[in-house]
């Protein structure tokens, strides 16, 4: 064999405020299955996006079959024979199985596509999902769609196939068949497979080699034969800790402030309970997609059909929309500040006033814009907003300062309970420290705080108590020294407690 099938060399990629990949180097051979492992935010998705041509790296090279790539476009990646099967299947539900397999092909290509389509159908069948090519995708189960997505990735002379969590929607026995077929495809066709999964048993059974990403670096590389699950998990964790310690941990005798029991959603059978004491920060860890955001949204009734009993200070509170949860004293700082936290085209002060805190909007229907600006400025000053004006449009502030604006919305609403969803996503280190300080201060003032975060060091440094959610359900509770990366990761990934330590 002359050259490696794929050579990733010194790849670096930054986004405003975040360095997603710092220096990543590894290779992939023909017929090899390589697992790419790492926590949420370790850089796996960014790397796959670069490979698929959706992103251009800041530095470094991608070499395929000895030819260095000079252009990062999805077209070029397809021409190079690189197929990325995303976690969310890229399919058109209104089209049939066959039409989806032909999607994106020109008329000329379609003429010769018959054998490819048949091969893909055979592959899906071999994975345990025999499909009629005329079936509409909307009638297929998520598992069938995933299987089809995998088969499609191999259908058109792929050289390299990257699969991002391909088995999340499948049952055990399906998974075994899928993995078996993947190995055969790698060996029969000499395809290089990059496999991304959090399910360690799968990783161990399907892969030849594992590369662990951590904080944008390759933290570990080994052949599967010479490593263990424990070793891989150990290498995944231990991300750089931001040096933050809460100044005001919860007092041992603090009374219960907030309870939510039987929190449910229409799309899940699971119900969850949570209790937060005054001054307590409860962290919620879990994998992306484990249902943590949905849990918070259910608490504030942001979606239809959510349920559960809420009490504040022991008194039940009843509401049916975020309007009601706001008036009950619950603040929700959502994950996507650009779409859910701010109206970007409005000035900062008007955004701060959106929660209708009496200080900002007065009691009557009229607003005094001058006063609104003055009060918003006061809040902004207390949060050290930069630039120190509230008259710019919200989109003109940096990520960390936008986050401060979202928090600022709630500070005069007399909220007692703060629900944070990924409070420092896309925020740089300095901004993180400020937001942590703010959360600590809110707790010190006797509020109850829930922090959902995929950043484990964040959960660890902020939480008085941590819960782990998996498949929509809280599965473990951690206090004191048990709030550590090993036990949180092990729990989130469904590895029995203790074995990963």
């Amino acid at each position: 064999m002359t050259a490696n099938l794929l050579e990733i060399k010194n790849i670096a990629k930054s986004f405003p405020g975040v360095r997603a990949l710092e220096d990543v180097t590894f290779t992939l051979n023909r017929g090899e299955v390589l697992t790419l492992a790492g926590e949420n935010g370790a850089g796996k998705s960014t790397l796959l996006s670069i490979l698929g041509g959706a992103l251009t790296p800041d530095r470094g090279t991608v070499t395929i079959d000895g030819v260095q790539r000079d252009e990062y476009t999805p077209r070029r990646a397809l021409a190079d024979g690189i197929m990325i099967a995303q976690q969310e299947p890229a399919i058109v539900p209104q089209l049939s199985v066959e039409q989806n397999l032909l999607l994106g092909k020109t008329t000329a290509e379609r003429r010769d596509a018959g054998s490819h389509v048949q091969a893909a159908l055979d592959d899906v069948a071999a994975m345990g999902f025999p499909l009629d090519p005329r079936t509409r995708l909307s009638r297929l189960s998520p598992a069938q769609r995933h299987a089809l997505t995998i088969a499609k990735a191999f259908a058109y002379d792929a050289k390299i196939v990257a699969l991002d969590e391909p088995t999340t929607s499948m049952l055990e026995h399906n998974v075994a068949a899928v993995l078996k077929r993947l190995r055969e495809l790698a060996e029969e066709r000499g395809v290089g497979i990059i496999y991304v999964s959090h399910r360690m048993p799968e990783v161990m059974s399907v892969s030849d080699r594992v590369v662990v990403l951590r904080d944008g670096h390759v933290a570990y590389e080994s052949s599967i034969a010479r490593t263990t699950t424990e070793e891989i998990v150990r290498r995944m964790v231990g991300r750089e800790l931001l040096n933050f310690h809460r100044n005001h941990p919860v007092k041992p005798d603090a009374p219960v402030l907030f309870t939510a029991t039987g929190v449910s959603r229409p799309d899940s059978e699971a119900t969850n309970d949570i209790t937060v004491r005054a001054g307590e920060v409860v962290g919620i860890a879990g994998l992306v997609g484990s249902g943590r955001t949905e849990f918070l949204r259910a608490i504030v009734r942001a979606d239809h059909g959510t349920g559960g009993t809420i009490t504040i200070d022991g008194k039940p509170v009843n509401y049916h929309s975020p309007n009601g949860s706001r008036d009950a004293g619950i603040a929700f700082i959502p994950e996507d500040r650009k779409r859910q936290g701010l109206a970007l085209q409005m000035p900062a002060y008007a955004n701060i006033a959106l929660t209708a805190a009496p200080d900002l909007v007065g009691r009557g229907p009229l607003v005094n814009i001058r006063r609104q600006i003055a009060v918003a400025s006061e809040i902004a000053t207390s949060l050290a907003l930069k630039p120190a004006t509230v008259r710019l449009q919200a989109r003109q502030y940096s990520g960390g300062n936008q986050q401060k604006l979202v928090i600022a919305k709630w500070l005069r609403t007399h909220a007692r309970v703060y629900l944070f969803d990924e409070p420092t996503k896309g925020v740089d280190v300095g901004g993180k420290a400020e937001i942590y300080g703010l959360i600590d201060q809110l707790a010190a003032d006797g509020n109850g705080i829930i922090v959902v975060s995929s950043d484990l060091p964040e959960v660890i440094s902020l939480s008085d108590r941590a819960l782990v959610m998996r498949n929509g359900q809280f599965i473990s509770e951690h206090v004191g020294d048990d709030i550590n990366e090993h036990s949180l990761v092990a729990s989130a990934m469904g590895i029995a407690k203790g074995t990963a330590a």
Binding site: V300, A302, S321, P322, N323, S325, R326, D327, F332, P334, R339, Q340, G341, L342, A343, L344, Q345, M346, P347, Y349, A350, N351, A353, L354, T355, A356, V361, P365, L366, V367, I369, I373, S377, A380, T381, P387, A388, T389, R391, L392, Q393, R395, Q396, Y397, S398, K409
Partner: protein, 356 residues
């Protein structure tokens, strides 16, 4: 803090002028050109005619501006204008209802018709285009049903005087438009409701999660649109002393055009009452000026269409241009170069980027 605001303010002022004055400048240019081409155009009497002929588009356009700012559209305004006009006229002529109650009943009908649009959109989750496409047909049908398609003539003189007379030489309908515009501006810029309207259009999810009753905001906004469409329909009746089942239909597209020329963004989050007024005036001036110049009326629509396209293209162009410049120096947001909207103005450069 106050220093920063003071520093930012003058720069900000200069930039607003560029965008908001653009439409006024365009209007001035159009008026001057017509003035040069025909000496009768810039006379007091003729300008008064222009203002009167712009009034219906202005009223309906102001209501539509609210709807468009929330990211919606109301296709039923023309039908509501027809329905309200003929229903009120029929009540007054055939049932002897006095003028003022007749007027008020008409306004209530318009408001209810609008609220029904809002309920279809919020409760049944219909897209605004579809919901109001349906009610456009329904309300037009009702306008026929009221009088079996017959026009209503001989509307009482007292009613005509209410909306089609002069106070000290100023047409009463112009006064009405000015009052409505001032109230609408106050509602949009100086009330909690107005801020909620702008937020709903800018990011509905943000508004919802902040506790804004988004559905209520929308229902009221469509109610306003229906109310003002009804008022527009009544003005039409007063002007010709008669009501026809289709009298309001032509105003749908011209009222949307007035709002769009005035800077309303169909993507939501952006629109100006003053802009819509000027947009209506521009359309009125075009109609009037082309008649004075003896241009066959068939050409009027072509010119109107061109003006809409050019106005929006210029608006988008100026945003794209400032958007590019912003991208160049984005490392730290800088009030001196970035402030492009007056406080309280709803701008949406981010939308124009999306559109690109």
């Amino acid at each position: 803090m106050s220093n920063d605001v003071a520093v930012a303010a003058p720069k900000q002022k200069r930039h607003i002028n560029f965008q908001a004055v653009g439409i006024f400048a365009a209007a001035a240019v159009i008026f001057i050109i017509f003035g040069i081409l025909n000496e009768n155009f810039l006379t007091v009497n003729n300008l008064r005619d222009v203002a009167v002929s712009a009034s219906v588009n202005a009223l309906i356009g102001i209501g539509l501006t609210f709807v468009i700012i929330t990211g919606g559209i109301d296709l039923s305004v023309g039908s509501i204008a027809s329905f309200v006009g003929i229903a009120s006229a029929a009540l007054m002529v055939n049932n002897g209802v006095p003028s003022i109650p007749g007027l008020l009943i008409g306004l209530v009908i318009g408001f209810i018709a609008g609220v029904l649009n809002g309920l279809l959109i919020t409760s049944l989750k219909l897209p605004p285009f579809i919901a109001t496409l349906g009610t456009m047909s329904i309300y037009q049908g009702l306008a026929y049903v009221v009088t079996s398609g017959q026009p209503v003539y001989n509307v009482p003189e007292s009613f005509v005087l209410l909306l089609n007379s002069y106070i000290a030489g100023v047409p009463i309908v112009v006064v009405v438009v000015i009052i409505v515009a001032v109230l609408a501006w106050l509602l949009l810029r100086k009330t909690v409701f107005g801020q909620n309207v702008i937020a709903t259009g800018g990011s509905e999810e943000t508004a919802w999660l902040s506790g804004v009753r988004v559905n209520r905001v929308k229902v009221i906004v469509y109610g306003i649109s229906g109310l003002l469409a009804g008022l527009g329909g009544l003005v039409v009746v007063a002007r010709i002393s008669a009501a026809q089942s289709e009298a309001g239909a032509p105003y749908l597209l011209t009222a949307i055009a007035a709002a769009v020329i005035g800077g309303a963004n169909l993507m939501g989050g952006e629109g100006r009452i003053g802009g819509t007024l000027v947009g209506a005036l521009i359309l009125g001036a075009l109609t009037n000026g082309l008649v004075l110049l003896n241009v066959p009326s068939f050409y009027e629509q072509i010119v109107t269409g061109l003006v809409v396209v050019i106005a929006v293209a210029i608006d988008q162009g100026s945003k794209t241009w400032s958007g590019r410049r912003r991208k160049g120096g984005q490392a730290t947001p800088n009030p001196a170069t970035n402030e492009s909207q007056a406080p309280g103005e709803a701008g949406a450069e981010d939308k124009s980027r999306v559109a690109r």
